[in-house]
Amino acid sequence: MTASAPAITVKALTMAYGSFVLQQDLNFSIAQGDIFVIMGGSGCGKSTLLRHMIGLKPPAAGSVWYGEENFWELPDEERDRIIRKAGILYQSGALWSSMTLAENVALPLLHYTDLMPEVIQELVAFKLSLVGLSGFEEFYPAQLSGGMRKRAALARAIALDPDYLFFDEPSAGLDPISAKNLDQLILEIRESLGATVVIVTHDLASIYAIATNSIFLDSDSKTMLAEGDPKTILQECTNPTVLNFLTRGTGKREVRTV
């Protein structure tokens, strides 16, 4: 990997709901092309951190940098310009329920490009075939299974060939096989698009399978307890909370990806 400037940097970030502090003084950076996992127990603020990074909620203190730009200090249009380069897969899929899959994937293309309708149609069919859903163009989200919906949402997330991909609990609600296939898909898409991937998850199997870098958030100490490749953390970490999480409470330092 080339030692280029980090794609995303988080500096001294504090997350809070009112006076209730979730996490404080988070500092980490995400390199170009990383698959970066934000892990931690339920309720530690993983998803909130993601919302700070994708512009849905300003942090209580601290900053998020995209390259050299201080994200939350930028004017609205500039923030939009950055976030347009990001594809986001929400926990529930968040496909627009009143539109077919084809319309869902086409909307960002219609909104941001001046392509001819036929070209858009071809692009949509191609993106859907990438996630194994060709032939489902005219289906509505409600007619699909949970796994298919997640994949369709992934097709929408990659509609504009994004530089950054954010995933909020991609394997939540999926059976182990679907979750593994989704991991595979994430890896392949990262390879081919060269995108920087940020994943919020607590699914150990997928953490070991795909992560190249990670941080561990803890709700008791309200800060990050570990940083680095999760496999390295597993071997070297001495913090009992992190070790407990990474070994599912067994304390055995072995990687199990299945």
Partner: protein, 375 residues
């Protein structure tokens, strides 16, 4: 079929050795039987006792019912610092009791505490201020997006717009017809009783005509649409909020106001005045039915009287009102939907609140407009 006769649950206190309390459990201690109260036993647990043990040879069957009984006794014994021995209990019961006593996970969430009155008032005030700010921001976004729509830069989809036009226009006709006709009938009944005394029944046509055109047509169609469409808007947008669909739009740089709110509001602004005209006509027809059948007026006579009474300016007054109502209903429905929290309960609250807000806004704005026009 074998019918099992369950034995009554009982306990026997054995204090044959001084300082040792043995509780013999017998019978069936389940949720479907009626075990004795532990009062007698609690009296026996006093400072003369040093050790508490259990015997369960006679116990036939047990479930959580037994466990809560034991828990009462054990906590009473703890307070007296009595040594407790659980080995006489069924092994499952012993395990469950110790499981229930493991220290709870230390929680990062503080318990809900009851605040002082002043604190609560303060919180409410801060909430109210935040709500007003949110509302102002929403109005601002609507104005910005309307401007974008005029310059052709809005994500507005014509198909959505026509769908909403259909939903609040054509599909509302049956209910609007029913209500408007009945309102016409009611007005004409009320008037007929009084006017007949003076032999002036022809003026029922004036009463019904003016009543519908000036007031009731706009008001009734507004209230029906608030219940039918305002509620639907709040529920739709609220559910989209729960599903993160609105977040998905935002992060794609597509304004949810331009994409979701504007087509809904414009459909209402366009259709409510049309529905109002329709309701006016229906109300007048409803009134004429009473005029013809009960007041011995001919239909032509009745309609002619109506025609000479109503002026175009009066019709316009009703139309202006209904256009304002359309904006208000759309605004309240969409605002409540966009403010919705992330749970099924919140969607319900948003819907209710959309209807209540709409109706309050309709009635208040109606009185203001009427006051301005007539003064």
């Amino acid at each position: 079929m074998l019918i099992s006769v369950t034995q009554q649950p009982i306990f026997i206190i054995d204090q044959s050795q001084p300082g040792f309390l043995v509780v013999n459990l017998g019978g069936s201690w389940t949720l479907h039987t009626n075990p004795p109260a532990p009062a007698e036993l609690l009296v026996a647990i006093n400072n003369t006792v040093r050790s508490l043990t259990f015997a369960s040879e006679q116990l036939e069957d047990w479930d959580t019912r037994l466990l809560i009984f034991l828990k009462t006794i054990i906590s009473a014994a703890r307070q007296q610092h009595i040594e407790i021995n659980l080995t006489g209990l069924p092994p499952g019961a012993e395990r469950l009791l110790s499981l229930a006593e493991t220290v709870p996970e230390k929680s990062i969430y503080s318990k809900n505490v009851h605040d002082f009155l002043v604190t609560r008032i303060g919180r409410r005030a801060i909430d109210a201020y935040a709500q007003i700010r949110e509302m102002a921001a929403f109005i601002g976004e609507i104005i910005i997006e309307s401007r974008a729509l005029l310059s052709g830069k809005s994500p507005f989809r014509a198909r959505d717009f026509f769908y909403f036009v259909q939903a609040c226009g054509a599909e509302s006709l049956p209910i609007v017809s029913l209500i408007a006709v009945l309102v016409g009938v009611i007005l004409s009944f009320v008037g007929a009783v009084q006017l007949q005394m003076f032999g002036a029944q022809i003026y029922v046509a004036n009463l019904v005509g003016l009543g519908m055109v000036l007031e009731m047509g706009a008001l009734m169609s507004g209230i029906i649409i608030a219940g039918r469409i305002g509620a639907a808007y709040a529920a739709q947008l609220g559910t989209m909020q729960v599903n993160e669909e609105i977040d998905a739009l935002r992060t794609m740089g597509i304004s949810p106001v331009g994409f979701l709110v504007l087509p809904r509001m414009l459909a209402l602004m366009l259709m409510l005045p049309l529905l109002c005209i329709y309701a006016d006509i229906m109300g007048i027809l409803g009134g004429s039915v009473i005029g013809v059948t009960m007041l011995d007026l001919s239909l032509v006579e009745y309609l002619e009287q109506t025609r000479t009474t109503i002026h175009l300016s009066q019709c316009c007054q009703g139309l202006v009102k209904s256009a304002v109502f359309g904006v208000l209903i759309g605004f309240a429905g969409c605002l409540r939907g966009m403010q919705c929290g992330r749970s099924a309960l919140a969607v319900g609250e948003a819907t209710t609140s959309a209807v209540v807000t709409s109706i309050v806004l309709i009635v208040v704005s109606d009185s203001i407009i009427t006051f301005i026009i007539n003064s």
